[in-house]
C-alpha cells in the first residue's frame, strides 16, 4: 500500500515537499555540519540587511504589494525562476526519479512547456490590464462584486493550500536537515518569513528570491558537473550505469515506472502541470512588479531560460543519483532503505561528490529556498485579502494609501499566522492532498476564466459565477473522492475517483460551463460587459496609454 501511495505523495514534491515517511526514517541531520550552519547564517544576515534596506522604500500599498513596479526584468526573471526552482523541485524530482526513473521527468518538462505558452498568451495582456492581482484583470470588465469575491476566494484557496503544503514540507525538511523539532522548525520559518514580508514587502521578497535562485543554480550546476566528471563527461555512461544499478533495469529509462502508461493519469498530470502555473496568483502577481508589458514579457522569458537550464541539469542529477547512490551502503539504514527517504537523495549525492562542504551548502540553500517561496505566497495572500476583498468592499479610492498599506500588513500577519497554525495542525497530513487541491483549482478555475477574460468577448459575470462555482465545487469533490482523501484520510478501501488530479475532467468543465452560462446570459449587465470587450482589447494590446 505504501508503495502505491508513494507516487501521489511524490507528485506534491514538485511544488512542495513530501511529508510522508521521510523525516521519521532519517537521522541524516546536518545540525553538526558547520558549512550548513555558516552558509545558512550568512543567508539570514544578508536577507535581514536586504529587508532593512527594502523597508525604507516600502512606504505605500503599491510598493508593499508590487514593489511599485520598479523591479528590473532580469531581477524579476530570477525571482520568478526562484519561485519554481524550489528546494522541492530540486529535492523532490531528484528523489522521485531515483525511485521511478523516467516518468518523474514529466514534473520538469510538463511545467516548462507551460511557461512559453503563458509568456505568449497571458503575460503581456495580464500586465496591461491590472495593477495588483488576478482579480483586477478579470474584473476589468466583469464588475459584479460577486465575481471579484469568487476569484479572490479561489486565489486565496490556492495560496493557502499551497502555503500549507510548503509549511509542512518545510517543517519536515528542517527537522531532517538540522535536527530541529518540527514545531520549532515551522515557527522559525513563519517568523523569518513574517519579518521579510511585513517590513520589506515585495522588494525584499524579490531580492531574497533572487539571492536564493543564484545560490540554487550554483549548487545545481556544481552537482551536475560533478556527476558528469564521475562519468568522464559521457552522457551515455550516466544512463547506462543508472540502468545497470536500478532494480528495474533498462525500464528505469523508459516510461511507465510511475504513471503506468495510463492515458488518463498521464493526461491529468500533464494538464495540471502545464496549465496550473497559469492560474497561480503568486506567480501572476510578479508580472505587476515590473514597469510595463514589455518588461513582463522579458522577465518571463529570462525566468523560462533559467528554469530550462535547471531542468536539464535535474535530468543528469536524477539519473546520476540512481547510478551513484544505489548500492552505496553508507546511505542505507539498517532496513536497507535510503536514509532520510526520497527528499535526501539529492543531498546524499551532494555529500558523495562534494563532501560535507557541498552537502552543507545544498542543505542551507534548501532552507533558504523554502523561506523565499513562503514569503512570496504570503504576499499574494495578503493582496487577495487587503486589495481584492476588503479593498473592494470599502472602495479603495476613498481611503488613504497609508491605511491601505497598514491593511496589507495586517493581512500579511493574518496569512502568516494562519499558515503557521495550519502547518502545526497538519503536521501528519499527506500534503499531496493540499497541493493537489491548489494546483487543480488553479488549472481548472483560475486558468479558464483568465484565458476567456483576456480573449473572449462573450464572457459575462453570470457565466463566470455559475461556471466558476460549479468547477470549483466539482474539483473539490473529486479531490475528496480521490485516493489521497477518500482512502488515506477517510480510511475507505478504494478511491471512488482513481486519478491523482481531477484536472483532465475539471479543466474542460471550467471552459464549457463558463462558456455555456455566458452564452445563454441575456441580462442587461451582460450586454454592457460584452460591449466593454472592444475597449478592453485596445488596452490589453497597447497598455493604459
Amino acid at each position: 500500500m505504501k508503495s502505491a501511495l508513494r507516487p501521489l505523495a511524490f507528485l506534491a514534491c514538485h511544488l512542495s515537499l513530501t511529508s510522508t515517511a521521510s523525516a521519521s526514517q532519517g537521522a541524516a541531520s546536518q545540525a553538526s555540519n558547520p558549512f550548513a550552519i555558516a552558509i545558512f547564517l550568512a543567508f539570514v544576515v544578508t536577507t535581514m540587511l536586504v529587508t532593512r534596506w527594502a523597508a525604507k522604500k516600502t512606504t505605500s500599498k503599491a510598493s508593499f504589494l508590487v514593489a511599485g513596479g520598479a523591479i528590473k526584468p532580469w531581477q524579476n526573471g530570477l525571482a520568478i525562476a526562484g519561485d519554481f526552482m524550489s528546494a522541492a523541485t530540486f529535492l523532490g524530482i531528484t528523489g522521485l526519479m531515483f525511485f521511478v526513473g523516467f516518468d518523474a521527468y514529466i514534473l520538469a518538462f510538463g511545467v516548462l512547456i507551460g511557461w512559453p505558452i503563458m509568456l505568449m498568451l497571458i503575460a503581456e495582456r495580464f500586465r496591461n490590464l491590472g495593477r495588483f492581482t488576478l482579480v483586477d484583470v478579470i474584473s476589468y470588465r466583469l464588475r459584479m462584486p460577486a465575481v471579484r469575491l469568487l476569484i479572490a476566494c479561489s486565489s486565496l484557496a490556492v495560496i493557502l493550500f499551497y502555503l500549507i503544503g510548503q509549511m509542512v514540507g518545510a517543517g519536515k525538511l528542517i527537522e531532517l536537515l538540522f535536527g530541529i523539532d518540527y514545531v520549532y522548525s515551522v515557527i522559525a520559518v513563519s517568523s523569518l518569513m513574517m519579518i521579510y514580508v511585513l517590513f520589506g514587502g515585495m522588494l525584499a521578497t524579490t531580492w531574497i528570491q533572487m539571492i536564493k535562485a543564484v545560490l540554487l543554480m550554483a549548487g545545481g550546476i556544481a552537482l551536475a558537473l560533478l556527476v558528469f566528471a564521475e562519468f568522464n563527461f559521457s552522457l551515455n555512461a550516466i544512463f547506462a550505469e543508472a540502468a545497470a544499478k536500478h532494480g528495474n533495469g533498462d525500464a528505469v529509462l523508459s516510461p511507465g515506472g510511475w504513471l503506468k502508461s495510463d492515458i488518463l493519469s498521464v493526461g491529468t498530470v500533464a494538464l495540471t502541470l502545464c496549465f496550473g502555473i497559469m492560474g497561480l496568483p503568486h506567480v501572476l502577481m510578479r508580472f505587476f512588479t515590473v514597469k510595463d508589458a514589455a518588461d513582463a514579457r522579458n522577465s518571463v522569458a529570462i525566468a523560462t531560460l533559467i528554469m530550462a537550464l535547471f531542468y536539464i541539469l535535474i535530468l543528469f542529477i536524477g539519473f546520476g543519483a540512481i547510478a551513484l547512490i544505489t548500492g552505496e551502503t553508507r546511505f542505507e539504514g539498517s532496513d536497507g532503505e535510503i536514509v532520510g527517504g526520497s527528499n535526501m537523495i539529492a543531498l546524499h549525492l551532494a555529500e558523495l561528490l562534494g563532501g560535507s562542504a557541498l552537502l552543507g551548502f545544498m542543505s542551507a540553500v534548501s532552507f533558504a529556498t523554502i523561506l523565499a517561496v513562503v514569503a512570496g505566497l504570503t504576499l499574494a495572500g495578503a493582496a487577495a485579502i487587503a486589495h481584492d476583498i476588503i479593498g473592494v468592499m470599502s472602495k479603495d479610492a476613498e481611503i488613504s494609501d497609508k491605511v491601505q498599506l497598514n491593511r496589507s500588513r495586517w493581512a500579511t500577519a493574518v496569512i502568516a499566522l494562519v499558515s503557521l497554525g495550519c502547518g502545526i495542525l497538519f503536521e501528519n497530513q499527506n500534503i499531496a492532498v493540499v497541493t493537489a487541491i491548489a494546483l487543480a483549482l488553479a488549472a481548472s478555475v483560475n486558468f479558464p476564466i483568465l484565458l476567456m477574460a483576456l480573449y473572449w468577448g462573450g464572457l459575462t459575470s453570470r457565466g463566470v459565477l455559475i461556471g466558476g462555482w460549479i468547477t470549483l465545487l466539482t474539483s473539490v469533490i473529486l479531490v475528496i473522492l480521490s485516493d489521497s482523501v477518500w482512502v488515506q484520510l477517510l480510511g475507505n478501501p478504494t478511491a471512488l475517483f482513481p486519478y491523482p488530479y481531477p484536472t483532465i475532467f475539471t479543466l474542460p468543465l471550467g471552459f464549457i460551463t463558463v462558456w455555456l452560462f455566458s452564452s445563454i446570459d441575456t441580462s442587461a449587465a451582460s450586454k454592457e460587459e460584452r460591449a466593454l470587450f472592444e475597449s478592453q482589447s485596445v488596452i490589453a494590446e497597447l497598455g493604459q496609454g
Partner: protein, 114 residues
C-alpha cells in the same frame, strides 16, 4: 478630413498589431502544445517507440531525447518570441499608441471647436 485619415491609420496600425501578434502567439502555442501531446503519446500508447535506443548499444532512448528536446525547444521558443516581440511588436505598439494619442487630441480639439 485629416482627423478621419488619422483614425483610419490608427485602426490599421492597431489592426496590424493584433493580426501579427495573434498569428504568432496562437500558432506557436498550439505547436508547443502538440509537441507536449507527443510526450503524452510516448508515455502512454507509444512506450515501444519511447524505449527504442537512439543507436546500437546506446543507453539513451527516444523518450529521453524527446523530452529533453522539449525542454530545450521551450527555451528556444521563449527566447525567439521575446526577441521577436522586442523587435517587431514594440515598434508597432509604439506607433499604434502615438496614433491613439493623436486621435485623442484631435477628438478633444474638435469637441472644443463645437
Amino acid at each position: 478630413m485629416s482627423g478621419n485619415d488619422r483614425s483610419d491609420n490608427s485602426a490599421s496600425a492597431l489592426a496590424q498589431l493584433v493580426r501579427v501578434r495573434a498569428r504568432m502567439i496562437w500558432s506557436l502555442s498550439a505547436s508547443l502544445f502538440l509537441l507536449f501531446l507527443g510526450s503524452v503519446y510516448l508515455m502512454t500508447v507509444g512506450t515501444d517507440l519511447a524505449e527504442t535506443p537512439i543507436g546500437t548499444g546506446s543507453a539513451i532512448n527516444v523518450g529521453i531525447v524527446y523530452t529533453s528536446a522539449l525542454t530545450i525547444i521551450s527555451a528556444c521558443v521563449t527566447a525567439f518570441y521575446a526577441i521577436w516581440a522586442n523587435r517587431t511588436l514594440d515598434p508597432l505598439i509604439a506607433s499604434a499608441n502615438d496614433e491613439r494619442a493623436a486621435d485623442a487630441s484631435v477628438a478633444a480639439a474638435s469637441e472644443a471647436e463645437e
